[in-house]
């Protein structure tokens, strides 16, 4: 039977990554990832003023919630915690996801297109919330927020797999499930990896104007970057988003196109 999900247990041990040798959960870190001590923000005096201002505002000013109602915001926060989990981060070093999504929807900002099969983004979010609650009720007999972490993860994985659990068939007729999932993950990813703390985590050098990158070849770090120091970790036991094995195949009949231009 599912144990009740207690929101106050945020960051508890079973939701943190573990050391594969000992099986023990790793302590929350100020900076997860393989580049200990690397800080893009420490380089800000070498950035141009416009970039510095933009990035610092992102770190220091978290916009208020204006699009989502309180109930929607609470549910969205739970979804974001599954899509980009941050339980390995110390609470003060977690990156706000939902306020960024809310800000975009509040401003009515879109990426320049809408798929003909999709409702406008704001409606898509609201339909998605409705679908998730219907699935939770039908499959588990409870609201989403009362499900165990693992049940929540499994419900979301069924959306990821484009084989959603029962309960929201009518909604998926109005909104293709794979497009909804791509919208949700894209927005979460964009909020997380726009933050300089995420750049530090992955060893991305960040802004380099006007100083320049000098060591271009063979992955060499700049004098102010750091070399990688890897450690092994495994995803928390009650999570299903980091499957073992080489590949989770994308749905080849429904390729989820990225929005970014790369060439």
């Amino acid at each position: 039977m599912d144990t009740l999900h207690d929101p106050s247990s945020d960051g508890r041990e079973t939701r943190r990554p573990a050391d594969p040798k000992t099986g023990k959960s790793l302590p929350p870190l100020g900076q997860p990832g393989y580049y200990p001590g690397f800080s893009t923000l420490n380089q800000q005096k070498f950035w141009d003023a416009a970039t510095r201002e933009r990035v610092l505002r992102r770190v220091n000013d978290v916009p208020p919630i204006r699009f989502f109602n309180p109930e929607e915001a609470r549910l969205m926060k739970m979804l974001a915690a599954h899509i980009v989990p941050q339980d390995d981060r110390q609470p003060s070093r977690r990156i706000p996801i939902v306020p960024r999504i809310d800000e975009r929807l509040h401003q009515g900002r879109i990426p320049g297109y809408r798929f003909s099969t999709m409702p406008p983004d704001g409606n898509a979010y609201r339909l998605g919330f409705e679908a998730i609650e219907k699935m939770a009720k039908q499959s588990y007999g409870r609201p989403f927020q009362e499900l165990s972490w693992r049940a929540q993860d499994e419900l979301l994985k069924s959306i990821h797999d484009a084989e959603p659990k029962e309960g929201a068939e009518e909604i998926w007729k109005q909104m293709p499930v794979h497009r909804y999932w791509a919208l949700l993950v894209q927005d979460c990813v964009e909020a997380y990896y726009a933050h300089p703390w995420a750049w530090d985590e992955i060893g991305f050098g960040g802004p380099a104007y006007p100083r320049a990158y000098i060591r271009l070849e063979h992955g060499e770090p700049e004098p102010w970057e750091v070399k990688e120091r890897r450690y092994e970790w495994m995803a928390p036991a009650d999570s299903v988003s980091d499957p073992k094995g080489p590949d989770v195949a994308a749905h080849s009949e429904h390729p989820a196109h990225g929005q970014g231009g790369t060439h």
Binding site: F204, A212, H218, D242, V248, H257
Partner: protein, 558 residues
């Protein structure tokens, strides 16, 4: 630092100007510069802002969204295209602000695809007619590249190639191990050494976020300053809503546009050139339907909006044991065109190129989401490995199909104008080409030493949708960009391309604009007061290049 001269010349709305250009992007910027230099009264009307690059642009993925066309469009079909950041610019400089700046020429074969392969279409002009303009624009941007480029019409570059980044290392290694030729350090419209007031590249990797450095060419910095100095006017943040047409004379008379406050203006002009790119150009022509042109301006052939093309732009990502750090150096710095031409041993026509790409973290995360289904802890894990991945782009030729088209949706935008609906499907030749190309790129990635390879299906660039041709029944414009239906209405941008090859279209678009400008200048006032169509090729006017560009390079005997 360079500065752009303000205030510029201002024309009054009641004054009938010579040329009105809709959209100051890759083509619009070059046209504006040439026509102003030749002494015409010319105004460019641009939907987006006039950028102050130091104040407005940032080294940041999310912070650069305003460079892209973000207004609503509906995208559908079996293989819907993503738009916005993927292929559409907004603001003075247009797409040339956010392109990666790969600048290969089209091959001679690209101009006669139908004759050679029985598919697609022939161009009304040959490679050799466009070649002098390729040479000019390569100096005006300028293009850095290797001393010898072996594919298509082999040629050299006057400006030296760039150093490689980590992605280039892997592409060169993979190609070399398989005996495939590879071009290193270009061709790319980025300065490898400083030139005049423009500084050289600093390899910060944010090319498609707009080059704050000023090393990457955009018409904003290569042609617009000269245009303004020679008396051109640009009205920015102004969205053209309608082209007006006089039924009695069958000529266009001017445009209405909405400024940033939503106020409507009307500007009279003797001739109009639409340079809005492959979606906004057909949209404006269709939205300007009127008596005598009920299906849209210049659309008697029912070709406006049709034959829209994007190139297959699959990204193949490979993980390496050693770090790559692909965020350094321009994403565009090495490529191979070894598979560009039709090969009778393959079961499809035409071919593809393989190019370096260097996705920054958000673009990479999005690719991993699509390519590998990453989310949750799996996403966090793969992202911690960001520095171990390299990325190659397939650039594959998709043929022009009538069903791939821009039409008007019922929905309207913030100005009350019907938005574009884009339909895109792949056909048999396209699918075979993509499958073969993907497999080849994966072979190269494997030969480079990648231990894990994944791929994301996507598309790059947009061309077609107002194609040029000799036959008015099957094309919108003639070989100089003049619409078959209306003698003083022109289209000059990526939308006039009949086919697209496997080369990035930016250089070709600017070269076509320079050629059209030479034609208009040769025709003089005949454009304004005659409906006769003179198809004589104009002389190449090298003296119209921005100062200090043409005539550089190695001295040669005359």
């Amino acid at each position: 630092m360079q500065t752009i001269e303000f205030p510029m010349r201002r024309y009054s709305e009641s004054e009938e100007i010579d040329y009105l250009i809709v959209g100051v992007g890759s083509a619009g910027g070059v046209l504006l510069q040439r026509l102003a230099r030749a002494g015409f009264k010319v105004v460019g009307i641009e939907a987006g802002p006039f950028w102050d690059t130091e104040r407005d642009w940032v080294s940041d993925e999310v912070g650069s969204h305003q460079l892209y066309w973000e207004d609503l469009r509906i995208t559908g079909g079996k293989n819907p295209l993503t738009l916005g950041a993927n292929n559409c610019g907004k603001g003075v400089g247009g797409g040339s602000v956010h392109w990666a700046a790969f600048t290969p020429r089209f091959h001679p074969s690209d101009f006669e695809v139908y004759t050679r392969d029985g598919v697609g279409a022939d161009w009304p002009i040959s490679y050799w007619e466009l070649k002098p303009y390729y040479e000019l624009l390569e100096l005006e941007m300028p293009v850095a590249g290797p001393p010898w480029y072996p594919w298509g019409d082999p040629h050299s570059y006057a400006f030296g190639p760039h150093p490689m980044g980590g992605v280039g290392n892997t592409l060169v290694r993979g190609c070399t191990n398989l005996g495939i030729g590879v071009s290193v350090g270009g061709p790319v419209a980025i300065l490898s050494g400083s030139r005049g007031k423009r500084p050289h590249c600093i390899y910060r990797g944010y090319c498609i976020q707009g080059c704050k450095v000023g090393a990457k060419a955009s018409t904003l910095i290569t042609h617009v300053p000269d245009a303004l100095a020679k008396g051109a006017e640009i009205r920015d943040r102004s969205m053209v809503s309608h082209i007006y047409h006089d039924r009695k004379t069958n000529r266009v008379t001017g445009v209405s546009y909405l400024d940033q406050d939503g106020t409507e203006h009307f500007q009279k002009a003797k001739a109009i050139i639409v340079s809005g790119y492959a979606i906004e150009t057909p949209r404006l022509l269709l939205n300007s339907a009127c008596d005598g042109h009920e299906n849209g301006l210049a659309n008697s052939s029912d070709t406006v909006g049709r034959y829209l093309m994007a190139q297959a732009g699959n990204v193949i990502l490979g993980r390496f044991d050693e770090p790559v750090r692909m965020y350094k150096a321009p994403p565009a710095h090495a490529l191979t065109e070894e598979f560009y031409e039709t090969d009778p041993n393959r079961d499809f026509a035409r071919g593809f190129a393989i190019q370096t790409v260097g996705p920054l973290p958000i673009a990479f995360a999005t690719q991993m989401m699509a390519a590998r289904g990453c989310w949750g802890w799996g996403l966090r894990r793969i992202m911690m490995d960001y520095n171990h991945w390299s990325a190659f782009g397939l650039l594959g030729e998709i043929l022009p199909w009538p069903g791939n088209r821009v039409t008007l949706a019922e929905e309207t935008d913030q100005f009350g104008l019907r938005v574009a609906h884009v339909n895109f499907d792949l056909y048999d030749n396209d699918k075979k080409l993509i499958e073969f190309g993907k497999e080849k790129v994966e072979q190269v990635m494997r030969a480079a030493g990648a231990t894990e390879i994944v791929q994301e299906a996507r598309y790059a660039h947009l061309v077609g949708a107002a194609r040029m041709g000799k036959d008015p029944a099957t094309s919108v414009v003639d070989g100089f960009g003049r619409t078959h239906d209306i003698a003083n209405l022109f289209v000059c941008d990526g939308s006039i391309l009949p086919t697209q090859g496997s080369a990035n279209p930016g250089l070709t678009i600017q070269a076509l604009a320079a050629r059209t400008a030479d034609y208009l200048i040769s025709q003089g006032t005949k454009i304004f007061n005659s409906d006769k169509r003179d198809m004589t090729s104009p002389p190449v006017r090298r003296e119209l290049s921005p100062p200090g560009t043409h005539g550089t390079g190695v001295p040669r005997l005359r």
